[in-house]
Structure formats: structure tokens, C-alpha cells
């Protein structure tokens, strides 16, 4: 499956940072770190036609990454190259043209649809904004997309409250599809749905990808969903991308201790399987004051002295698998690899 994809990057994200100012008003006068480092230097490629999944626990910055890419928040630093242009440097007008190619599906299907608008109006709104077609052409486009995502004609005049969560998520997906985008950023599109509906929506996402040649940036915390849908995975921890690689590689053979812990937390349906559980100590540190060196060293079972001082660089392993961990750095001697935390 992986080999079929063109290896050309559609969007190249380089060193993206998003800091939020944490102190306001007079508190600014106080000394100390005043920024929440939600995303702290993330780089990845979104290849044409693939599904790239960002996974990680709550608050690790995966949603912020997606939103910043769409410029719903302004990036603090870094660049995102799309069609030879840096998205973060475009004027609003130019960016609006790009928005036609980049759409977003939101997590909560209940709050992502305007309760006062009929489905038809909700779906036609993107076309109005981007000035596509006239009134009747817009209706035709909307009808076509509605049938693609499995909605019926008579849903056109219904209100959002008349739909179930799964149907609403289809509507949210249809809203992203009406402008014929190239990239869809799916921000936990199925986490608000129950499991049977999740699979329907995921299968729909996959069939749409096949038919329309879409590229997904799939943000999720659910490893089993990600394993099913994605081609490549990026694992995020505290605003950093700690491991990246093809889905099968990362899941079968995780390199980073955090990824191992994350994977071992996924429940297996077979009670007879015995496996090693990696249980992390402590809580995720505050992004207001992230740990020095490797951000994971405070909870890492294999933490070494070097981890506390030096930020690990991303290391290329075999098969396009990259990891940011000193354990895999051959430049570090075995002597230095003495485990401290254990």
C-alpha cells in the first residue's frame, strides 16, 4: 500500500512552532517563561494521496498543529510549503485561495454545524465564500457531494438537530468536500462517535480518498483507528514529534520509549495475550515550562544523563523511520547510556 504513493510532498512543514502567551496584563512584568509551547518545532511532510496520522495524548499539540497549518492560529515560527509558497507568509487574500484546497473536519459533530441553518445552506456556504458557480450549480454540487457521503436528497432542507452524530459527521465531511479540496485535515473526526459509527465514517473516509485522490492529515489519539486508516504515523509528545514512520513499522516496531508506552496502553481484544505493559510515571509536564533536553526524560524509563541536557536530534533509521531519542544515537557510548530513572 505504501509503495503506491508518490513520494512527493504536498505540504512540507518545517520547524513549526506555536507559542501562546500565558501571562497577560500586569503579569507580563514578572520574570520567567511567559509562553505555552503548544507546538515546539514540528517538521513533517504530507505526501500526495497519503493519510498521515498525528497521534499522542491530550494536550500534546496535535490539534494545534492542524489548526496552525490552516492558519486558524498564526504560527509563531517555521514554514509550511505548499505549491512552492509558504502558507504562513501568505496574505489573507492569497491564503483564502489556498483554503479552497485545504479543508478541515472537526471533532465534535454537534457543535460544528450551525443549528439555525438548513443542511443545504451549510453545505453551500463554502461555495458562496469561494464564489463557485451560480445558485443552481451550487445546489447540484451540494447534491452530488451529499450522495457521495451517503446523505439523502430530502436532508437538504433539514436542520442539524434532526440528525444523529454519525450523520452530522457526514455533513461535516460533505462541507469539507464541496469545494473539491486536495487536503483534508481531520481533527479527531471519529472520537465523538460510538464504535460502530466510527467504522462507517472511517470506511467512508477511505473510499472517498480512493475516489477523489484526497490527502488526509488525520489527528487522533486512538491507535487502533490510526492503524486502520493511516499510511504513516507521527507520534507527538509535548509539542514535539518524537517518532515518525510507516504505520506498520511504528506499530510493530516502535523505537521511542514513549511510543512503546502509548502502544502498550491499547487494549487487546484477546485476554490470553500476555504482554509487557509500559506504564509511565507521573503526568505530562506543563508546556509552560517543558523539561530541558529531551522533553520526555522526566517520565522515560530509560532516561540517561545525556537526556537531561541535550535535545535529541531526529535520527533516520531503516525504512524512513525517524526517531528523536538518544537511545538510538550511535554517537553516544554505552557508558553514557546508563539508565538513571529505573
Amino acid at each position: 500500500m505504501q509503495a503506491q504513493h508518490e513520494e512527493t510532498a504536498l505540504i512540507q512543514v518545517r520547524n513549526m512552532k506555536k507559542y501562546y502567551q500565558a501571562k497577560k496584563g500586569l503579569n507580563k512584568l514578572k520574570s520567567g517563561n511567559t509562553y505555552v509551547k503548544a507546538v515546539d518545532g514540528v517538521s513533517f511532510d504530507l505526501r500526495k494521496g497519503e493519510t498521515y496520522a498525528l497521534v499522542g495524548e491530550s494536550g500534546c499539540g496535535k490539534s494545534t498543529t492542524g489548526r496552525t497549518l490552516l492558519r486558524l492560529h498564526d504560527a509563531t515560527e517555521g514554514e509550511a510549503i505548499y505549491n512552492g509558497k509558504d502558507l504562513f507568509k501568505l496574505s489573507n487574500k492569497e491564503m483564502n485561495k489556498v483554503r479552497k484546497d485545504m479543508q478541515m473536519v472537526f471533532q465534535d459533530p454537534y457543535s460544528s454545524l450551525n443549528p439555525r441553518k438548513r443542511i443545504g445552506n451549510i453545505l453551500e456556504e463554502p461555495l458562496n465564500i469561494h464564489n463557485i458557480g451560480n445558485k443552481s450549480e451550487r445546489t447540484d454540487i451540494v447534491m452530488e457531494v451529499m450522495s457521495k457521503v451517503g446523505l439523502q436528497v430530502d436532508h437538504y432542507y433539514r436542520f442539524p438537530h434532526e440528525f444523529s452524530g454519525g450523520q452530522r459527521q457526514r455533513i461535516g465531511l460533505a462541507r469539507a468536500l464541496v469545494v473539491d479540496p486536495k487536503v483534508i485535515i481531520c481533527d479527531e473526526p471519529v472520537s465523538a462517535l460510538d464504535v460502530s459509527i466510527q467504522s462507517q465514517v472511517i470506511n467512508l473516509l477511505q473510499s472517498l480518498q480512493r475516489d477523489l485522490g484526497l490527502t488526509y492529515l488525520f489527528i487522533s489519539h486512538d491507535i487502533s483507528v490510526v492503524r486502520h486508516i493511516s499510511d504513516r504515523i507521527g507520534v507527538m509528545y509535548l509539542g514535539n514529534l518524537v517518532e515518525e514512520g510507516y504505520t506498520d513499522d511504528v506499530i510493530e516496531n516502535p523505537k521511542h520509549p514513549y511510543t512503546k508506552a502509548l502502544l502498550s496502553s491499547v487494549p487487546l481484544p484477546d485476554p490470553n495475550i500476555q504482554r509487557e505493559r509500559v506504564i509511565l510515571q507521573g503526568d505530562i509536564p506543563s508546556p509552560l515550562n517543558p523539561p530541558s533536553g529531551c522533553v520526555f526524560h522526566t517520565r522515560c524509563p530509560f532516561a540517561m544523563d545525556v537526556c537531561k541536557t541535550t535535545v535529541p536530534q531526529s535520527l533516520n533509521l531503516a525504512g524512513n523511520h525517524t526517531v528523536r531519542c538518544h537511545l538510538h544515537d550511535e554517537g553516544i557510548t554505552t557508558e553514557e547510556k546508563k539508565v538513571v530513572n529505573a
Binding site: L70, L72, M95, N96, R99, K100, Q103, M104, F106, Q107, D108, S111, S112, L113, N114, P115, R116, K117, I122, E125, P126, I129, H130, S136, T139, D140, M143, V153, D154, Y156, Y157, R158, F159, G172, R175, V179
Partner: protein, 311 residues
């Protein structure tokens, strides 16, 4: 996908949705009662004039202060004018003033509230102005304005609109502040919609329901305030009748002619209760999450929120 089938579906669905709405209206006793009271009051104002045998200005001095009789249904006032026709025409003026104030404050308050909710700098400026206006006692402010502008019906409307606009603006702003954080607004921003488009096409429709509820209360409040202004002699100028200035005339002769105070008073009470019922009923109907209030609590409805408006 033929357009005819689509328009058929549309018609059917709209019919279905309308009948659902009608059912909810019928099951809402508060709204139903309020609507009937308002229907009566508005009916008096609009249909009443056709049954009048006297104009409200026609003076028959020898007949002055005659009690209710077959000839003068509600009696006559201190100039011998037919009280019934004065109350009917007074209804037109009082309701007219109330409606005009409600509409003007709604429109202006909506725009101010929406802009304030979306632009932070503007918010500070507009809300401080509103705070200032709300800090002045409404009636005093209106009297001062009337003194400056002269006692005319339009000026009553202008004065009351200025007094009540901040109330609407506040309600709209607070609702809009919560709406702008909703995901569907963010979705529109992700589509590249302009701020004005987001404000007026996506946020505004969601603020309408609290706005309408507030506007009915403003309607009621401005009827009371107009009556109070006229009672103080700073409202609708004589000889035009309004419920307030009939009361004003009646106060001098209250021991000789009770009818001059009672009938316009009843009309004011009916109109205000009716509007408050409609307002509360609308709130229950629009927001299905609030449970209908228990009967015990409904007694509170009789405390008009006029105190609030005056304060």
C-alpha cells in the same frame, strides 16, 4: 435530481416543521395566554376605532366626568371627552411607542452587540458607553432628553430607545461571545469567510432568540415608562391621548371619577402582563432545554421587570 422534486420536498418539510412549531406553541400555556391577551389589546387598538361614535378630541363640557353609561361606555373625562375613544386611541399611541422602541432598540442593539462581541477594541469602547447609559436612571434620562428635545411623541421614542438600547446590546453581546467560540464559526473561518460575513450570517441568527425575548420585555417596559413619562407631563403631549396622560388627567379627579384611572390602568396592566407572558413563553419555546417553570415560580412573573428598566 430534478428541481421540481426538490421544491416539493422543501414544501413538505417546511409544512412539517411549521406544524411542529405550531404544536409547541399550543402546548405552551404561558405563550398562549400572553398571545390572547396581546391579541385583545392590539385588537382594541386596531379594530376599536371602527366602533367609536366620538373622536377622542371631541369635548362636550356639560357632560364632563359622567360615569360609565350606555352612551359613554367608560364615562367621560374632565373635559367631557369620551373615555372609551381616548383609551382606544391611547392604545394606538402607547402600543405604537412601545413597538417603535422595541424595533429600534433591537436593530441598533443587535448591531452594537454583534460588533462589540467580535472586535475587542470596539467592545471596550461600546460597552463603556453602554455602562454609562445604564448607570443613569432611565426615567430621569428620558425626562432630561424630553426637556431638551421638547415634548413630542417622536422624542419619547428617541429618548426611550437611547435608554433601552444598552440592555439589548448587552444580551446580544453575551450570546454572541459564546457563539463566536463555537466550532461552526471556526469552520467558517477555516473556509476563509470575511469577519462581516461571519458576524451577520453565522453569529447573528443565533442571537435572535434571546434578542426577541428581550425585545418583548423592552416593549412592555417602554409602555410603562412612556406612561410614567406622560404621567409626569414629559411624555406624549396633550391633547393626544396616551394611557399615561389619561392617568395624569385622572389623578386630579380620582375621588370623583374612578373610571379615569381604572380603565387606562387596566389596559396598561393587560398589555404589560401579556407581553411578559409572551416573552417568558417565547423563551421556553425557543430554548427547549429550560424546563417549564413550576406553578409556584410563575407567581414571580407578576413582578414586571420594570424596576430593572427604571433603575
Amino acid at each position: 435530481m430534478s428541481t421540481t422534486s426538490l421544491s416539493n420536498i422543501r414544501k413538505e418539510l417546511k409544512k412539517e416543521q411549521r406544524s411542529l412549531l405550531f404544536k409547541r406553541f399550543l402546548s405552551n400555556k404561558l405563550l398562549l395566554t400572553g398571545s390572547f391577551i396581546m391579541l385583545f389589546v392590539v385588537g382594541v387598538a386596531l379594530i376599536g376605532p371602527f366602533f367609536l361614535s366620538y373622536t377622542p378630541y371631541q369635548m362636550v363640557v356639560e357632560n364632563r366626568l359622567s360615569p360609565p353609561s350606555a352612551e359613554h361606555l367608560l364615562g367621560t373625562d374632565n373635559f367631557g371627552r369620551d373615555l372609551f375613544s381616548r383609551v382606544v386611541y391611547g392604545a394606538q399611541i402607547s402600543l405604537g411607542v412601545g413597538l417603535a422602541v422595541a424595533v429600534i432598540t433591537s436593530v441598533v442593539g443587535l448591531v452594537i452587540g454583534l460588533l462589540a462581541s467580535y472586535y475587542k477594541t470596539l467592545d471596550h469602547i461600546l460597552m463603556r458607553i453602554c455602562d454609562g447609559l445604564m448607570a443613569i436612571p432611565g426615567i430621569l434620562f428620558a425626562i432630561a432628553l424630553m426637556a431638551a428635545l421638547g415634548p413630542q411623541t417622536q422624542n419619547v421614542i428617541i429618548a426611550l430607545s437611547i435608554v433601552f438600547t444598552p440592555h439589548i446590546a448587552r444580551v446580544v453581546r453575551s450570546k454572541a461571545l459564546s457563539i463566536r467560540e463555537e466550532t461552526y464559526v471556526e469552520a467558517m473561518r477555516a473556509q476563509g469567510a470575511s469577519p462581516l460575513r461571519i458576524i451577520f450570517l453565522h453569529i447573528a441568527p443565533n442571537t435572535i432568540s434571546p434578542l426577541v425575548v428581550q425585545a418583548t420585555f423592552i416593549f412592555a417596559d417602554s409602555i410603562i415608562t412612556e406612561a410614567a413619562l406622560s404621567f409626569l407631563g414629559a411624555g406624549v403631549p396633550t391633547p393626544d391621548p396616551s394611557w399615561g396622560n389619561i392617568l395624569y388627567d385622572g389623578k386630579l379627579v380620582i375621588f370623583n371619577a374612578w373610571w379615569m384611572t381604572v380603565f387606562p390602568g387596566i389596559m396598561i396592566i393587560l398589555a404589560v402582563i401579556g407581553l411578559n407572558f409572551v416573552g417568558d413563553g417565547l423563551r421556553d419555546m425557543i430554548d427547549p432545554h429550560t424546563k417549564p417553570r413550576s406553578k409556584k415560580k410563575r407567581v414571580n412573573l407578576f413582578r414586571f421587570n420594570s424596576q430593572k428598566a427604571r433603575g
